[in-house]
Symmetry: C2
Subunit: 328 residues, 2 copies
């Protein structure tokens, strides 16, 4: 029997989920919910209804899991606890510092109503978090390094767009090869923010704008750019759309540890992603998590969970026997 | 309260475990068991008793988990089911094709006696298996590639030592950069055995032996070398001991998948290990698994498990709150 999925929010992540569900024969997309006018939205999957958020309750009992595809800034802190009181849910809440608080609120709502919620799924938090956990468990004495990129940072691109004279922009976060190399060599270096990542910006200036002033404003912007080596390229609008229209991302989690009675042996573990589409990959992970949440709820495991709590086998569409025979 | 560990078998893996337990403050090494004369063994940890296998039963109730550090060829197929009837156990059974049968026998013994057994832990099977599972769940449409090395293959080194005229030998399995590059580029190549790995052999010949004949015998050896590009170096005994005395290993699991309604986006996931000491790393994973087994058994989860069944958090010495706050 397939897992009946509802998607809440039809932006990049929601569209990614629509596509991911089709790659999993045991998942079924049953409805998409939006705060916009449902009539204004055309899904790429014929026959699936689009409903308004207000009508969600009429779907109780007809959906196994809701996948929440909103943003972490304002959508999920409200939506996830609210909806966890009525449905099983998965979200990709990614404000790392606020996870304990988000967890507590979602856990209370889900436990009280007998639902299962999985928060902070995706790749970071998500698969990268799992990598940090497994690596730390295998090598208790060592140092963790997480690098992001090469990839588009939406937040940094938006920050550039707010600079006067900027029409459009795209910012890439790029890990520095030198730092990666030192970590992989087992040197356990102390790395500053500037040592780890480079920020490369492609900027479309408004006509007549002072480009030198724009570049200065970007490079000196506190938090976003001031602590980094930043490269600014001015390009025309066509070039930006043509060459920088994708949403690639990726990154590296590396643990450099030592074992042996005298710590005589170096051991390096690395997990990395190279993604053409960040939202499609994230939503692919969310789809697998929806399967796991349906199973946990079926077993009576309610409350809030993270990927740390999921037996890995629950993420897979294969049976335990198939997994042992073919993947172990 | 610490997890009380007993080690069965004091070879490379058993010694690695002795060292790994010291890196985990919540684990305690209580005893080592051997088939040899216990008096002939001096642990590197003062005060820990060495006992004979026959006396194991007198330790019932005094140990939480036995970690079985024997080999997969003859030790574990017998020991794991036998001991799972009397103790919670962890093993590193790595004969992939025989895992389903091993699982069934251990599961029956553990279930009947109310114990918990974890089989096939380590890195392959183990962490590499987990990588294959997570990657396949995230990218259902794609291809998996596992490469091993650069590292010492004990089986291949032993095979060379059986060639007439060979005094000693060390064989390294080396992944081919070209194949790795094609996989990382998302080409999803079909790779033959010869495409994926190279075999490099360092051989000490007996005095007066026919080196050309030794080289021919190695390169044409069915199963072990005939299907590979093989490089043979003759070295003197001192060089072999000095430069090839370690037991390094490692490898790569890569999944190359596609997402999007038209499969328009390539997504690459990679997990890799670069290990100075293969047995010390494997035993570090076994130590974390022993912690998880103690916890599962405490919860009444009995029978045979694999790393696929373990909530990742159970492997860690950190609490769920600490994990969410610091690693998620």
């Amino acid at each position: 029997m397939s897992v009946r999925i509802g998607i809440v929010g039809y932006g990049n992540l929601g569209r990614g989920l629509e596509s991911a569900v089709r790659q999993n024969p045991d998942l079924e997309l049953c409805a998409v919910f939006t705060r916009r006018d449902p009539g204004s939205i055309t899904l790429r999957t014929p026959g699936v209804p689009v409903g308004s958020m207000e009508r969600l309750d009429s779907w109780q009992g007809k959906l196994d899991v809701l996948v929440l595809c909103g943003g972490s800034a304002t959508d999920l802190p409200v939506q996830t606890p609210e909806l966890a009181a009525r449905f099983n849910v998965v979200d990709s809440f990614d404000t790392h510092a606020d996870i304990p608080q988000h967890f507590a609120r979602v856990d209370a709502a889900a436990k009280a109503s007998g639902h299962t919620a999985l928060i902070s799924a995706g790749w970071d938090p998500g698969l990268f978090s799992l990598a940090r956990l497994y690596m730390g468990a295998a090598l208790p004495e060592g140092a963790d390094y997480t690098f992001w990129g090469r990839g588009v940072s939406q937040g940094h691109s938006d920050a550039i767009r707010r600079v006067p004279g900027v029409k459009d922009a795209r910012q890439y976060t790029i890990p520095k090869e030198e730092a990666l190399g030192a970590v992989r060599a087992g040197e356990q270096p102390d790395l500053t923010t500037r040592d780890k990542h480079l920020r490369e910006c492609f900027v479309v200036a408004e006509e007549g704008a002072d480009k030198a002033e724009i570049e200065r404003a970007i490079c000196e912007m506190p938090k976003y750019f001031a602590d980094y080596d930043t490269i600014v390229h001015f390009v025309d609008e066509e070039t930006l759309l043509r060459e920088h229209g994708g949403i690639p991302h990726g990154g590296f989690v590396i643990r450099s540890g030592r074992t042996g009675l005298q710590k005589e042996n170096g051991q390096i573990m690395e997990f990395s992603l190279k993604l053409d589409s960040n939202p499609e990959f994230t939503s692919s992970v969310l789809a697998a998590c929806a399967r796991a949440v349906a199973r946990l709820n079926g077993e009576g495991q309610t409350g809030c969970k993270t990927m740390f709590d999921l037996p890995p086998a629950y993420l897979s569409g294969l049976s335990a026997e198939e997994l042992r025979a073919h993947l172990l």
